[in-house]
């Protein structure tokens, strides 16, 4: 329904001009904001492909250049930064100090750990969430509403309170900062397997499946759990996929709990415990500590990129699921 339907030619012209000006400002605003969002990513990737001298030069270069100032082709960019990041830079013969100029960062181990913990956590979460959401949405039992309300209330309590308690629990077991990687994995996984948020979300979806389907299946003699398995889960598969993706992303980006319970001393290839976030932090800390150059920003950015890019790839593949899931959960708030 456009106002412009009704304007005569003279009015129309001034209207159009105003409209164009308005639109221009709007797009300008949105573009500036989009740049604000986008520039850090761009900077991260571009910097990771520059040479050290370029980083430290006072010139601002938007694309990697050679010493003469000419822009370089992509294949001339410093892909070796990534190699150095992963394998480290050994010190030149004869110089003082430790063996490494830049200690290698074991991204493959970080990834391995994180993916593994992610899979563990997510599988557990999915099983628990599906069962619980099913119970709350389809089954009738005494105290259903009461229990659900209690669950909801826990969502409002800040996570910091659980952290202290869970830290204590795992200390009791002796798992905190343990040398045994399986105990560490357990510590990292178990507290997050029971998630009220995902249960709530899935329950929403289950509830939208008409009750008639359930009754019809019952009349056909289907048991409850078979109904769950064969009908509800397939229908709700989009939501379940979203939960899986969000859960994996959550593990990838986790920082607080892993940094509390993993022991940073275990960062040698033989026994590597860290996840992505603290691996990055610790790795860079030790790496930078042992270098005298202050120009390893490019390596630092490469580290960030190593951690971010896989996630971005996942995002672009699953964009629909992620964005829809987040907006749905927001509306219900």
């Amino acid at each position: 329904m456009n106002k412009e339907m009704y304007l005569n030619p003279k009015e129309l012209k001034s209207f159009r001009i105003k409209q164009i000006i308005g639109r221009t400002f709007l797009y300008l605003f949105l573009t500036i904001m989009a740049l604000y969002i986008f520039i850090p990513f761009y900077w991260m990737i571009i910097s990771s492909l520059k040479e050290s001298w370029e980083i430290t030069s006072p010139e601002l270069t938007l694309l990697p250049v050679n010493r003469a100032g000419r822009v370089l082709w992509p294949w001339d960019w410093q892909w070796s930064n990534y190699k150095n990041l992963i394998y480290g830079i050994k010190k030149v013969e004869g110089s003082i100090g430790t063996e490494w100029q830049f200690r290698p960062m074991h991204f493959h181990l970080m990834f391995r750990n994180t993916v593994f913990v992610g899979l563990l956590t997510t599988s557990g979460t999915i099983i628990l969430t599906i069962l619980a959401a099913f119970a709350f949405s389809r089954l009738n039992f005494k105290g259903k509403d009461v229990i659900f309300s209690i669950f909801l209330m826990t969502m409002m309590i800040p996570g910091e309170i659980y952290v202290v308690g869970n830290y204590y629990t795992f200390s009791l077991l002796g798992w905190v900062r343990s040398a045994n990687i399986w105990k560490i994995f357990g510590t990292l996984t178990l507290p997050f397997v029971g998630s009220v948020f995902y249960t709530f979300f899935l329950r929403q979806t289950f509830r939208q499946i008409p009750n008639e389907l359930y009754l019809a299946a019952k009349v056909d003699g289907t048991s409850d759990f078979k109904y769950l398995w064969k009908i509800m889960i397939p229908i709700a598969s989009a939501t379940i996929t979203t939960i899986i993706i969000l859960s994996m992303i959550g593990v990838w980006n986790a920082f607080v709990w892993p940094s509390l319970v993993t022991n940073a001393n275990f960062c040698e290839p033989g026994n590597y415990h860290l996840l992505v976030s603290n691996g990055l932090l610790e790795g860079l800390k030790t790496a930078m500590g042992s270098t005298e150059e202050n120009s390893i920003l490019n390596l630092q950015m490469a580290g960030s990129a190593m951690v971010t890019v896989p996630l971005l790839i996942v995002f672009f593949l699953c964009k629909k699921y992620i964005m829809r899931g987040v907006s749905r959960s927001g509306i219900k708030g």
Binding site: M44, S171, M301
Partner: protein
């Protein structure tokens, strides 16, 4: 209707795993947190800490304490570091939340009015949501690097040591306020994604008929926005504001990420921007410090957040329409 109690057993089976995990990892810790805050000098052995000659009581599951009392709270509330943390956190909240919410709303409204490229913009604005806090925090630190950062290269004459002059050059011009700028830039950057998406879906869910009716009622554009769009959006605005406040109060990882030293400030001042949550974790993770203090501090945090949330709900009663 299915008979009431018939599903009792099935429900029990289905819920058992979830309930078990919730009990162990959620309810138990919450209860403990409340209790430990009142147990003085509560410590548990763990690795490398000796029980010492503490002559006191044993807690059921392990750990000893001296007596029940509010000593922990006293410790926290008289600790200058705590008040620093509180001050820092408050400033972070006051500066970043209104900025993010208003900006988020403006962007959402803008996005809602364009057709072309709406999808592209939406995707870009959402990117920060799926990124790793630590990784991008470091990128922000780099952007604001005194010598090599994009910001200083663009604004050549400003030359602030925003956040990391110290780490690299050894001179310390990093002040709380310059660091705050960087942290705010990062917090806002991070927070926009979620808000935009919620506001946008809220805007899109407003029935077009209201706008048609308003058109027939000869409502001018600004009036349509203030009298129809905003009130119909008010539940979302409230939700976003409350969650933003809560989230900002829990600021922790972003501070760590931006300084990159594992602490809340440059090497010379590790506690420059310590936050309340940081305070809690420090009290807990550093071996030997009583759990009691950490619990007390976290309860205080919870309490503060609760008060603020209730205040917001109270204020909103008149203005939010469902």
């Amino acid at each position: 209707m299915i008979e009431y109690k018939k599903d009792g057993w099935r429900a029990a089976i289905a819920l058992a795993p979830m309930v078990f995990f919730m009990l162990v990892f959620t309810f138990w810790p919450i209860i403990n947190a409340f209790i430990w805050a009142f147990l003085e000098d509560f410590s548990y052995g763990g690795k490398g800490i000796s029980h010492g000659e503490l002559d006191g009581y044993r807690w059921i599951t392990g750990g000893t304490f001296i007596k029940v009392g509010i000593d922990n709270f006293k410790t926290v509330l008289t600790d200058g570091l705590f008040w620093d943390a509180l001050k820092n956190t408050a400033i972070i909240v006051i500066v970043s939340v209104p900025l993010t919410v208003i900006l988020g709303l403006a962007i959402a409204v803008g996005l809602n009015s364009i057709k072309r490229f709406q999808g592209l913009y939406q995707t870009i604005f959402f990117l920060p949501y799926v990124t790793n806090t630590i990784a991008l925090g470091m990128v922000f630190a780099t952007l604001f690097h005194q010598n090599y950062g994009l910001v200083n290269k663009v604004f050549k004459n400003i030359g602030f040591a925003w956040i990391n002059g110290t780490t690299f050059t050894g001179t310390s011009e990093v002040t709380f306020w310059t660091a705050l700028v960087v942290l705010t830039a990062y917090t806002v950057w991070n927070g926009l994604a979620f808000k935009i998406i919620v506001f946008l879906s809220g805007l899109q869910s407003i029935d077009k008929q209201y706008y048609q009716a308003a058109q027939i009622d000869a409502a001018p554009r600004w009036r349509v926005f203030t009298k129809i769009t905003v009130p119909l959006l008010s539940p979302m605005i409230l939700y976003i504001t409350i969650t933003s406040f809560i989230g900002a109060f829990k600021a922790y990882s972003s501070v760590i990420a931006v300084f990159g030293t594992g602490k809340y400030g440059p090497d010379g001042e590790p506690n420059m921007m310590i936050t309340v949550v940081g305070y809690i974790y420090d009290k807990m993770a550093i071996g030997g410090t009583p759990y009691g203090v950490a619990s007390a501090a976290s309860l205080i945090l919870f309490f503060i957040i609760l008060i603020i949330t209730m205040l917001q709900l109270q204020v909103s009663k008149k203005r939010v329409h469902y």
